[in-house]
Symmetry: C2
Subunit: 132 residues, 2 copies
């Protein structure tokens, strides 16, 4: 079992637990269309999620990857999110405007990480930032 | 390449052509949640699609399969559809109320098939039936 796959599955379980129907999508490369790792919906909010795991920060995301996610999400009608699990720190979720532009890529460093939101916000307990 | 896979890919291409961001989902069995073959959205309409191919009619669908599709679609916030390609007759799309209950399962026979809608209806050219 590939490592990325395991973290996607973990996230899928979390999403179902908080009332989202969520699916993984197959590994990219087969087709030429942009495609996030996970798509989820709860009848009100739709999410297109890129899933990442790192043993330490920062995380760098290529512009191609971020733009692909944005393009897919706009066309589908979903909120684009990056879900990042850092070893020892757990999961946080990020909207694309939270990413820090850094040369030719985007970055999530420690400052950004702690501003990321948690699953309670997806549940609607603290929905203000997500609905922006 | 599995046969079912090829027809899913064909449908994915058709959906992108008419303005839907569409993804296949991995073969079922890995996770215990209901999951359609394809999920698509165009920012206004969201679709959860079960994909079938037959060399001849009728098509039978188990209640378990149809109920799983319905359950997923309701939770996600999508319109549940069955996409059926019949050899020599092409593709048609069906909402669940168009399926004929038949003993312990659902059926699409010739009469039903020709009442199925086509991709023009998804494009919004004839949206009345779909938005019901």
């Amino acid at each position: 079992m590939k490592k990325g796959y395991r973290f996607e599955i973990e996230l899928i379980h979390k999403l179902w637990e908080i009332g989202f129907a969520a699916v993984r999508t197959p590994a990219s490369g087969v087709m030429s269309y942009p495609c996030p790792d996970i798509i989820a919906g709860n009848g009100r909010i739709y999410l297109a999620i890129e899933v990442k795991m790192r043993s330490s920060l920062p995380l760098y995301l290529s512009k191609v990857e971020v733009n692909g996610l944005k393009e897919f999400a706009e066309m589908f009608g979903a909120k684009p999110l990056v879900a990042l699990k850092v070893k020892g720190l757990g999961w946080r979720l990020f909207t694309l405007d939270m990413l820090v532009e850094s040369g030719g890529s985007y970055r999530i460093d420690e400052n950004t990480f702690y501003r990321g939101f948690d699953f309670d916000e997806l549940k609607g307990l603290k929905q203000l930032r997500l609905s922006n």
